[in-house]
Amino acid sequence: MEGLLHQVFAGLANGAIYASLALALVMIYRVTHFVNFAQGELALCSTYSAWALIEAGASYWVAFVVTVALSFAMGVVIERVVIRPASRAPALSVVIVFIGLMVALNSVAGWIFGYSTLSFPSPFPAEPPFGNHYIGSHELGVIAVTLGMLGLLYVFFRFTTLGLVLRAVADNAESSRLVGIRVERMLGLGWGLAAAIGAVAGIMIAPIVFLDPSMMSGVMLYAFAAALLGGIDSPIGAVVGGFIVGVLENLMGAYVIGTELKLTVALVLIVVVLVVKPSGLFGQPVAARV
């Protein structure tokens, strides 16, 4: 029983990691209808910036705020410089651009910061809450931050004009332009927001998995599974999907199929969702007029 509880709580902690990055994936998808393969590496670069700021003597929260702002700017710049020139190209070309961006960012991070494992500070207490042995304060904190980001996103898309405009651009760029929305600017904003969410995710993930250039490669795959399971256009889906993937992966690994096939759970999940219910648990089915 104790073992089972350990697995479930470790799964929830991992799930929060997947969910936070899945949120960034969903953000970019809602604005551009593309899955950004470079999302993890963008978050990696943000995390390294935060680490460098802290190393240089900045306090945690200063580093946090500056990094999120910098990441927003980085998202906007990348959209303008790298993505927009390719925006009229076929979808496949854009995917290649994303993959190129992923490899390039990863190499740049390694080149600048090296490949050794770095520890990253946590804003939460070191001791687990209430003296329990199941889940640490930081893990609980990550779950809270992820849920907090989800709440903010929900409010943003549901109740603000800017959120409405972003949704309009994603839904129908041409009509949006005709009613006077500056579509390019909105795309840039979407990229900026996704990068900022990714930065928060990275800063939350790094204390758990430790910071090195390969930090995001594994996480990213599970985040994809989470986002797809929840529905790639649904923030709530991303978070629920993240927790399901995290717990399912642990329980299957520990009790059913063995640790060798843990990763396979995520991959099988991706395939099953795409075949059985491509819109995921919470996503909207796509209907196109022909």
């Binding site: 076929p90 494992t117 594994g218 640790t259």
Partner: protein
């Protein structure tokens, strides 16, 4: 989202794929032709141009293992230093170190080019088990020495089948059996849980552990694996704790080692711990995990850890630091890979010194297999390199060391565990 390419694009694509295939076939054919006749020019180069010793090497300067690329840089810089000081027996050394991106296919292509176009005499310290497995048959068929392979797999010590290949690192099996012997003698009746990386590294070490345990091999009561793509190993550590084991053998790479040490401590599991030397670094594993969580951890060592303060006044460590400062100021002096590269380069120089003026491939191989008690000063006291015609394993013994909260100190009751 439009995913299906238009017909015209797909035609262009298939045409260019065909062209590429054609080109590739031609390339392979040319490559084979070269392969058949490669032996002579290389030998001639080695014999006819005694002024320069040309050495080839593949390194992962890019790609997933690029952290190790620093080894190649250190070795090149060390050979430069030797050249400046007059070379080896008057010969200068030219290390041609090329990138293989940790990709075995690329490694084959690069090694063929090194042997056939650049006409190197031999290959030195090519890094990575997959890449070396890939180039091993080619080099052995063409009788080109594959010296001091930079991996810890056990397969490099096989003079009967691969007389032109010799490894460098102590094998993971030797390390595993060191733990096994120690546990069998000092902790009889232990209940052992093993966490290992699901590849040759993990499996070799586990095999050695069981061999070292001998008739107590059944005391391994729980095994869990992880993949390098796993974000954390928390779940595995929880499983191992639940097994009721009192001894934890942690066969992981640095990031996962730090996670496992921290998780075990955080969930209140306090076993006796044995940590693979791959992750036996104070700076890059124990510090991130939390030093107080790592007290009492055992590992084996064979060279001095530059992040370990007990070597700060050691002459060999000072010499190395001075070299790094002068030749490679941009590289880290807390990275063990840089110490490792220095030791490997010194070993290479020793072999070349032993060769005298006979730098034929056969003699280089013969001398590499004739190291007698050679002890580069950065090795731990009591460790020396020994090889023979039927023993291509450099290390005969490893030192068991224990972490005391600040540094690794030799374990008194088993200072040296023999092979």
């Amino acid at each position: 989202m439009m995913l299906a390419p238009s017909p015209s694009t797909s035609q262009t694509v298939s045409r260019s794929v065909l062209l590429a295939c054609g080109a590739l076939l031609g390339f392979v054919a040319v490559g084979c032709k070269h392969g058949d006749s490669s032996e002579k020019p290389g030998d001639k180069a080695a014999a006819a141009a005694p002024a320069e010793i040309k050495i080839g090497q593949t390194m992962p300067y890019s790609g997933p293992a690029s952290a190790y690329g620093t080894i190649g840089k250190v070795e090149a810089a060390y050979f430069q230093k030797v050249n400046k000081e007059g070379g080896v027996n008057g010969h200068s050394i030219n290390l041609v170190s090329v990138d293989d991106g940790y990709n075995p296919a690329k490694a084959i292509e690069q090694v063929r080019k090194l042997v056939e176009q650049d006409q190197v005499s031999f290959i030195f310290q090519s890094l990575g088990t997959p890449s070396n497995v890939a180039i091993q048959p080619y080099l052995n068929t063409n009788k080109v020495p594959q010296l001091f392979v930079a991996t810890g797999a056990t397969r490099w010590n096989d003079p009967e089948h691969f007389p032109w290949t010799i490894g460098f690192n102590p094998s993971y099996e030797l390390e595993g059996s060191t733990y096994g012997r120690y546990i069998a003698t000092h902790q009889p009746g232990a209940k052992i849980a093993v966490l290992y990386q699901n590849d040759d590294y993990g499996k070799d070490l586990l095999k050695g552990l069981k061999a070292g345990l001998g008739d107590q091999a059944k005391s391994v009561i729980a095994e869990a694996t992880y993949e390098v793509s796993d974000p954390t190993v928390d779940s595995q550590v929880a499983t191992l704790k639940a097994s009721g084991a009192d001894t934890f053998v942690n066969v992981t790479t640095p990031k996962f080692a730090a996670q496992a040490i921290r998780k075990a401590y955080d969930i209140g599991w306090k076993p006796k711990q044995y940590l693979s030397s791959v992750s036996g670094s104070v700076g890059s594993v124990l510090t991130p995990a939390g030093l107080e969580k790592a007290v009492g951890i055992n590992t084996v060592g064979y060279f001095k850890d530059p992040t370990d303060k007990q070597w700060d006044d050691d002459p060999a460590m000072k010499e190395w630091r001075a070299f790094m400062k002068e030749s490679l100021p941009e590289l880290s002096t807390s990275d063990q890979n840089n110490t490792y590269g220095y030791i490997a380069a010194q070993t290479m120089i020793q072999v070349l010194k032993q060769c005298g003026d006979d730098l034929s491939r056969a003699n280089v191989m013969k001398q590499a297999a004739s190291l007698k008690g050679f002890a580069p000063p950065l090795l731990l006291p009591g460790i020396a390199l020994d090889t023979g015609p039927n023993d291509f394993s450099l290390f005969e013994r490893l030192l068991l060391v224990r972490f005391n909260g600040t540094t690794f100190v030799p374990v008194a009751d088993a200072a040296v565990v023999s092979k």
